[in-house]
Subunit: 216 residues, 2 copies
């Protein structure tokens, strides 16, 4: 009865075409339920009821419950990956690119809580996640980030005495930790202020230095 409303919401820019209605409704239902509950306490019965289909249909389209989660995550990632590509285009300088990426990252997590929740808290405890399709997309994003850092090292913007991988881990760690607390406690976050603070700290460090010649 309480079927999910199909149009309007979710990440479905044309990409949804090709999928049968049942599959769409199931994925939509999971997204909807994730707004209020954690994945672990959402039952297949609940998903099916919300979607207005039977439980068995879930297993026609998804290997198991986790596969459903992974595929929903994959759809999100594909959507946002496309956007990230464009984000960095036309920006000059590695630090400027980094700044933009950090802002976008925060902004996406701030706007799309379900996406943030899946990526930050739900999938992490499943060991097979690290072999999954969506994780490969995350890795791709992560590699793009590393390339930007390497570019910065090459042109002298970024220090060369610490490996780009560690720099990337710090950036991502900081980003995700900030978002994690926001997600866990349902706190609002302001991408503008946060990215400002974050970039300041990441770029110049926490040490109080004779650093008066800052402009941006």
């Amino acid at each position: 009865m309480s079927a999910v409303k199909n149009s309007g919401k979710a990440v479905k820019d044309g990409k949804t075409s090709g999928f049968p209605p049942g599959r769409i409704r199931i994925a939509d239902s999971l997204r909807l339920l994730l707004e209020k509950k954690d994945f672990g306490s959402i039952t297949t019965a609940e998903i099916a009821r919300t979607a207005g289909v039977t439980e068995a249909l879930i297993y026609k389209y998804f290997k198991d419950k986790r596969d459903l989660l992974y595929q929903v995550l994959r759809e999100y990632l594909e959507h946002y990956d496309a956007r990230f590509e464009l984000d960095v285009k036309g920006i000059k300088g590695a630090l400027n690119k980094l700044r933009k990426v950090i802002w976008s990252h925060l902004n996406v997590y701030a706007t799309d809580r379900v996406f943030a929740k899946i990526l930050l808290v739900e999938v992490r405890s499943f060991p097979d996640y690290y072999n999954s399709e969506p994780y490969m997309l995350v890795k791709k994003y992560s590699n793009t980030l590393k390339s930007i850092i390497e570019e910065g090292v090459s042109n002298g913007e970024i220090r060369d005495d610490v490996s780009p991988s560690i720099i990337r881990q710090i950036i991502l760690g900081a980003l995700e930790n900030i978002c994690l607390t926001a997600v866990a406690f349902d706190r609002v976050m302001s991408p503008d202020e946060l990215s400002e603070s974050l970039c300041e700290l990441l770029f110049s460090g926490i040490e109080k230095n004779s650093d008066a010649d800052r402009k941006t």
Copy 2:
């Protein structure tokens, strides 16, 4: 002769605990099993079998399976919290303290993988974790960290134009992200090298600065 009620908390070897043998064996079993499997795929039957007790006994000492995990985590945290108190004692300067804390943090995660695994991947997906006893201990640790940062701001070691909370989040985020990948992929980590790189970056930033006055 009345039994001496030992209020000591079991950690790892559990020998000094005043807990009944069954409880100790159950907690020990979970710790053992967590070395090879994730919490989600460890069954109560498995825990009981490993402990040499019946499944029902688990529920005499623990509210449910998750409570068992939380209590095991709490024992770890109480153990390490005591050590952490001493760690910072006698160190002068906020940045030096921070350096020490970072090293210890990395070192604990590097040596005690089960502890790291519980804290970094297992509990995060349970919403009630953030109201649990062990989380309060984490918060306490987190507050100590903030105090150190605030001390650094007061005495001019640390910049005062960004809030200590954000600084702390970056430090913890970086720390945990590094450890998370190590845990997820079962990679060894070297606390010495890592803390060196981490501190360098956190203190001085990633920007290549004409910063000739760095201490050797």
